[in-house]
């Protein structure tokens, strides 16, 4: 009886709450209940899965529903993968608008749900799943392209320097810039999840992915939360790529990666960005091993500067 009461309580919180922290805690407890409850849980898991699918289709104005759907589906994919697998086709159909949501917390939750779904697929290898992977990869590639991002970043910088003359068109460009960064952020998150969970599928696409991520990293843009978010996401993605294929990464992408990360770790940068860059440098170094020897001197100097400043 306790489990049923808990399930009802959690359902009410998820239905009524607009608070991100509450939704996250309720989804976590729901996943735990689905996994560990002594009573059969298929009944309420089915209900929550169907409601999650329904709420994925909610409009952008119902952000709390989108967020709740992503959090619940992620937990159920991790805790009840067999039941989640039954709805995985619908999930891959409906997740994309949510991944392009304007709110970062919703995009992050959607990317986490996508990673959990890819993990479910990875545990059930089948040629039929290639359809999902190709569709996901196509969507990642279709999200606002790198070229448009770079163009908009440059345009934005130019406008910043001549703001007085171009103020009438500035709002329009800012909206475009924000939209692109949201798409790139989602693309990077999903690409990192695909690398982690679909290594065989991503191996032939590794070079393209590294080049794309480094191109974004070398042209980070200036100012704006969205540009900072893209930089932070790139910083988190580079260690994932380094760990995926250390030898291939070291041959072609280690030098530019170290260049990007050491630039972000310099004393003049924002403290949080430096911290992220140093952490990413550490992860990259652990993956590279001996390949790192030629760069050792510069890295040790940087670490000394950061540690004793």
């Amino acid at each position: 009886m306790k489990a049923v009461k808990f399930a009802n309580g959690l359902k009410n919180v998820i239905t009524a709450s607009h608070d991100d922290a509450l939704l996250e805690a309720a989804a976590k407890a729901l996943g735990h209940l689905a996994k560990a409850s002594p009573m059969p849980t298929n009944d309420f898991v089915d209900f929550e899965l169907n409601r999650g699918l329904e709420w994925l289709c909610a409009g952008p104005q119902y952000g709390h529903r989108r967020l709740a759907a992503c959090l619940v589906l992620k937990e159920l994919a991790s805790c009840k993968p067999t039941l989640f697998f039954r709805i995985i086709g619908d999930f891959f159909e409906r997740i994309w608008p949510v991944l392009r949501d304007a709110r970062q917390s919703i995009r992050d939750a959607a990317a986490d749900a996508m990673a959990a779904a890819l993990q479910v697929l990875a545990e059930r290898p089948s040629p039929h799943h290639l359809e999902f992977l190709f569709r996901t990869y196509d969507q990642v590639s279709c999200l606002p392209s790198l070229v448009s991002l770079i163009f908009t970043v440059r345009y934005h910088n130019a406008i910043s320097s001549a703001q007085a003359h171009l103020s009438p068109i500035l709002p329009q460009v800012k909206i475009s810039f924000g939209g692109n960064c949201e798409g790139v952020h989602a693309s990077l998150r999903v690409a990192a999840a695909m690398v982690a969970h679909c290594p065989d599928f991503m191996a032939p696409r590794f070079d393209y992915l590294c080049e794309t991520v480094l191109s974004v990293a070398e042209r980070p843009g200036r100012g704006g939360l969205a540009a900072s978010l893209v930089r932070a996401t790139v910083t988190r993605t580079l260690p994932v790529l380094a760990a995926f294929a250390p030898d291939a990464f070291a041959r072609r992408y280690l030098r530019p990666t170290l260049s990007v990360l050491t630039r972000d770790a310099q004393p003049g940068e924002v403290a949080t960005r430096r911290a992220q860059a140093l952490l990413a440098l550490g992860h990259v170094c652990r993956s590279m091993g001996d390949q790192l020897l030629p760069h050792m001197e510069d890295l040790v100097k940087l670490v000394c500067v950061c540690a004793f400043e």
Binding site: G9, V13, A21, A36
Partner: protein, 90 residues
């Protein structure tokens, strides 16, 4: 025993690690109390947890959710039954 344990529970909810402390308290009560006493104790704990859930303070709601999460695997005095979702009276 029951009232002092409840006092401990209330104190535990106010500090870090409270959910784990609550689950440990329920486990201890399950071992040390008779079946009837434990059922009453559990009922009081659950009532307190659901009161927190109905609170207007988001911190108390968060505390309630953390308590539920911790109690999921704790022993229960009532027999677990499978019921159609949403039909259980509050």
């Amino acid at each position: 025993m029951t009232s002092s344990t409840l006092f401990d529970v209330e104190a535990a909810l106010k500090r870090d690690g409270a959910p784990e402390a609550l689950a440990a308290a329920v486990d201890t009560a399950f071992r040390e109390l008779t079946t009837e006493s434990f059922a009453r104790f559990e009922q009081q704990v659950l009532r307190r947890v659901f009161d927190l859930l109905l609170s207007n303070d988001p911190r108390e709601k968060l505390g309630s959710l953390a308590a539920m999460d911790a109690l999921i695997e704790s022993p229960s005095g009532a027999q677990e039954v499978s019921m159609p979702y949403g039909l259980i009276p509050k």
